[in-house]
């Protein structure tokens, strides 16, 4: 499903060139559960951004479902993001003025889906993450774990094939963190490709495949 060939991403910081990703090759099959690990500055977040088409590689080719995404223009990339990729962030990134239900509906709003379909799907997903009774709450009325579950429901609303989670438990206590991981793993079990970026070894240990990164290079790639 994912094929990275000679992917590099350089940044200019001051007069220096930082190699956030340095000639990375990687293949991830559909339905895999991958943990990307490494210290900060190892390039794991950059990798995730490139996988989610939020960032463009400086060099190399990224094939997603056989399509070369590096050739796509901004609008086409946005469409791919909307239809194929779901994002989970460490800080949740819910829109504070919208209710849980409206937050979950947002990707479908952007995709011009009809209101009734939107609401039905968002309700179903919120119920699926155990928030049936919190739909009309705003983010500031929800706990951290609940917010992340709203974010998961939002990531799933367009039925993507790929879920990218950047430190999904980083801002949560261990109890809510475990709940969130359980939800993500259940989705993976249903066939979704799940890629989690984390520096928490306990989180990484749960994945079936672990990619360790350092200085923009893949240090080790272990399957369990």
């Amino acid at each position: 499903m994912i094929e990275l060939r000679h992917i590099s991403r350089f940044f200019q910081v001051g007069g220096e060139t930082v190699h956030a990703l340095d000639d990375v090759d990687m293949t991830i099959e559909s339905g895999e559960y991958v943990a990307v690990m490494g210290p900060s500055g190892s390039g794991k977040s950059t990798l995730l951004n490139i996988l989610g088409l939020l960032d463009r590689p400086t060099a190399g080719t990224y094939l997603l479902d056989g399509t070369n995404t590096t050739d796509l223009d901004a609008n086409a990339q946005a469409r791919v993001r909307g239809e194929k990729v779901g994002f989970i962030f460490q800080t949740f990134h819910l829109v504070p003025r919208l209710t849980a239900l409206e937050n979950v509906e947002l990707p479908m709003v952007l995709a011009s889906r009809p209101g009734a379909e939107r609401r039905a799907r968002a309700r179903e997903l919120l119920a699926g993450v155990g928030l049936a009774d919190r739909m009309d709450h705003r983010p500031d009325q929800l706990s951290g774990g609940q917010r992340q579950r709203v974010a998961i429901a939002r990531a799933m609303v367009m039925q993507p094939a790929l879920l990218l989670a950047d430190e999904p438990t980083g801002n949560l206590d261990s109890g809510s963190g475990k709940e969130v991981l359980d939800v993500l793993e259940k989705l993976n079990a249903a066939g979704l490709t799940l890629i989690v970026v984390t520096h928490d070894p306990l989180v990484g240990a749960r994945a079936r495949r672990r990619i360790n990164m350092r200085d923009g290079k893949v240090l080790e790639d272990v399957r369990r």
């Binding site: 939020l54 469409r79 993001r81 909307g82 829109v95 003025r97 947002l106 952007l110 011009s112």
Partner: protein, 402 residues
């Protein structure tokens, strides 16, 4: 994104940022209210002046000494040297024209009036009995000027109501005597009309027979002749008749200016329409200032909402959608602000109409113009912030590093 969703989303984010939104609404509202009020002022002035000229009387033709090329008033008309005086005999000759219903020769000057030790400077008008008909004046007490020959003097006067009250505070003015310089006049009537016309306050006026005024000022030239035409359809013919008659009397030299009331009205109409336009243009500047403010506040909004913009991009929003979202916010603000502005402006002009004798009404074109310019401002000044939002790098935006 559907239009309805776009509208709902923009409304929600505006309602959320209440302080910011209300400041922008205020700026837009002030701009539009300024357009409404200033043009109402100009329009009010136009109505006032045209009202004054209509109050002069009906079917009026005014004859000035001196020749001007245009139909309007120029400084030469208002008292420059003229080749030949306009005389009482000239005025009388006009009465013989079939198109002329009536004529009233006028002399105007300043005079010091005294009664005992009371002294007062005021405007003295030399006129004839016909002035009452032509100007549609009446007397509230006593009688009109006597029906004497126009070249005959008489030591009588008709005075305005204010003047009568001030000079004869505790008695009826009619029948009393007053002095103009060394001459004594008997008050025979008090003018019943009110208001100003042609720049004189009728209530402050002293009116004496025209030949007497000539004697007071020791001159034989008229200030002007007011002529009433028989029919409003014959204004142009009346005008030509007058010009021909006076030309013949002045050895074939056309040295008078004859202006119909219509021409005067349309001249002043034109002047005041331009004035209203100018006032509207000045007010438009405040709209532009409001537009710049909207741009600044929207730029701040964009930088405050970078994380949200990054998120929208991650959720599949195309750059064009982000642009539309922010433009929609700017236009919504401009629209609501201008509606508030129109309401406030109309309320204030209504209050002015109720409290002052000034018919201030904002012309419809100005109201429409104000709203359209406000919305255009919202669009134009909203483009820069909206495009900046659309161009944000989603990675940096999500990290809050923009």
């Amino acid at each position: 994104m559907k239009a309805g969703d776009l509208l709902a989303f923009a409304t929600q984010s505006l309602l959320r940022a209440r302080m910011r939104s209300s400041m922008m609404l205020l700026a837009m509202a002030i701009g539009v209210a300024a357009v409404v009020m200033l043009t109402a002022l100009g329009e009010g002035a136009r109505r006032y002046v045209t009202g004054e000229f209509s109050a002069l009387g009906t079917n009026l033709v005014v004859v000035f000494p001196g020749r001007t090329e245009t139909g309007g008033i120029n400084p030469g008309v208002l008292g420059g040297d003229t080749p030949r005086d306009l005389t009482i005999a000239d005025a009388e000759s006009l009465l013989r024209l079939p198109t002329v219903a009536d004529a009233a020769p006028i002399i105007v000057g300043q005079a010091t009036i005294s009664v005992g030790r009371l002294e007062r400077d005021t405007t003295l008008m030399g006129g004839t009995r016909s002035i009452f008909a032509v100007r549609r004046w009446g007397v509230r007490q006593g009688e009109l000027l006597p029906a004497i020959r126009w070249d005959q003097t008489a030591s009588v006067c008709v005075i305005g109501a204010n003047l009568a009250r001030e000079l004869f505070p505790h008695m009826s003015a009619v029948g009393q005597w007053l002095r103009v310089g060394e001459r004594r006049f008997r008050v025979i009537g008090i003018i019943g009309s009110e208001g100003r016309s042609l720049g004189f306050d009728v209530q402050e006026l002293i009116l004496v027979p025209v030949a007497t005024a000539e004697a007071i000022y020791n001159r034989t030239s008229l200030f002007r002749i007011l002529v009433q035409a028989r029919s409003p359809d014959e204004m142009q013919r009346t005008r030509t008749d007058i010009v021909e008659t006076l030309k013949a009397r002045h050895q074939g030299v056309e040295d008078v200016t004859v202006v119909t009331q219509d021409a005067l009205l349309s001249t002043f109409n034109a002047i005041f329409t331009v004035l209203t336009l100018a006032l509207g243009a000045i007010a438009t500047i405040s709209l532009l200032v409001a537009g710049v403010l909207v741009m600044n506040v929207m730029l701040v909004a964009v930088s405050q909402r970078t994380a949200e913009i990054g998120l929208m991009k991650a959720l599949g929003a195309r750059p064009g959608q982000i642009t539309r979202l922010f433009l929609m916010e700017a236009v919504l603000l401009a629209l609501c602000g201008s509606l508030i502005g129109v309401t406030v402006g109309e309320l204030i002009t209504w209050a002015v109409r109720k409290t002052l004798p000034f018919d201030a009404v904002a012309p419809t074109w100005a109201v429409v113009f104000g709203v359209v310019v406000a919305i255009a401002c919202g669009l134009i000044f909203g483009i820069l912030p909206a495009r900046r939002a659309a161009r944000l790098d989603p990675v940096l935006a999500l990290a809050g590093k923009v």
